[in-house]
Point group: C2
Chain length 223, copies 2
């Protein structure tokens, strides 16, 4: 029995097939281009395997509330061509099997909970820092999901003393993502994050913002 | 059939008895003094009614995780004599009936959910601003409670431009409570909050902090 998984990233897609022992037996990776091209590539890859269930973790924001009209859709995103694309709907036209769908960070959180760092825990919070900042929460053994999905990267933060950077979030400017994402760090350093020396004070600044966010998550979600 | 309710505040206690139609048939109020004196007053009031169940909403922080050693206890509080007091344990010695116990704000949140502003909603967030700032969350028809209870008032906030006040929280100085509680507002105004004119810019400042907190709660708890 085979299962399909799709990690739908804003930069690249990863598709994989596993057997019933969670062993990956096939995997492919391709750049994220237009929705139509992407759907064709997904179809081509999975057509060689008779998968019985599929799970999708997608870059957001996406509609994951089954009671909402935008369920299954990619919502407002800077990613060209993907705005208001009925992603889940298109997948369901091709694959006539049950498909579960949530955000990329919810999928990663759930993975850590089921088979990773949070195995045997009833609560877990997962945070990823890259081009953006996003997070997911396991609450009492389930993915926490209220009206739609948390936006952990967009909370406002108290700025670090002497930090003159004003933030680069297109929506909030100086929210956590605006102050502590990869591009925000690189804008201050004027070089790639990987090239910033380990003893550069910028890493302390990065830690300041992430620790502050961790405090907020702890007070609101984990306490 | 009678039910007992206790609102255990840091300044005053309110005890009430209701019938099975949620009609309050008796009520008393007294200043919060020592734990021993308070327990005696509670006992005296309820001894006239044969209540079959009791609910307590207490000022915090308190232990509300049944799996934790501090369950039923008042924890670290500036309130003299109440630190590490086994409040629920003392009540159970007197009343041999089922007693449920949670924070004052959780009780208020649940009240709004069952019979108030959030009737027929599956999610609700309640925030109170007074001497301190506290909040509770209803998530999928239940009180949200992870390890213990949220501390909504103690999240860090981005300061308002030109606000020179540095905050009065004894733990975090400039967290939400430190910047926007009643005493924080009064410290800036140098007068009682009720005496501050409605058109004073301080109210705009207060709204700035509460709106920022509401944004954070929405992104993390309600989205």
């Amino acid at each position: 029995m085979y299962y399909g998984g799709i990690e739908a990233g804003g930069t690249k897609f990863v598709c994989a097939v596993s057997d019933e022992h969670q062993q990956i037996i096939a995997r492919t990776k391709f750049a994220t281009t237009t929705p139509n091209e992407t759907i064709i590539k997904i179809n081509t890859f999975f057509s060689e395997y008779s998968v019985v269930r599929m799970a999708v973790g997608a870059f957001g924001p996406i509609g994951i509330n089954p009671d909402s009209q935008d369920y299954g859709y990619v919502k407002e995103t800077p990613k060209k061509g993907w705005q208001h694309f009925n992603f889940l709907g298109e997948l369901k036209k091709i694959f006539h099997i049950p498909i579960v769908w949530t955000t990329d960070v919810n999928v990663a959180t759930y993975g850590e909970y089921k088979m990773g760092a949070a195995t045997n825990k009833s609560s877990a919070l997962y945070l990823t820092v890259g081009t953006g900042i996003g997070g997911g929460l396991i609450y009492k053994n389930n993915v926490f999901q209220n009206w739609n999905h948390p936006e952990m990267g967009h909370i406002m933060v108290s700025p670090m003393h002497k930090d003159k950077y004003t933030g680069n979030c297109p929506y909030h400017k100086s929210c956590l993502e605006g102050m502590a994402s990869g591009p925000a760090l690189e804008a201050r350093a004027n070089q790639k994050a990987l090239a910033i020396p380990k003893d550069d004070p910028l890493w302390n600044l990065e830690a300041f913002y992430l620790a502050q966010a961790a405090m907020t998550y702890t007070l609101l979600l984990l306490s």
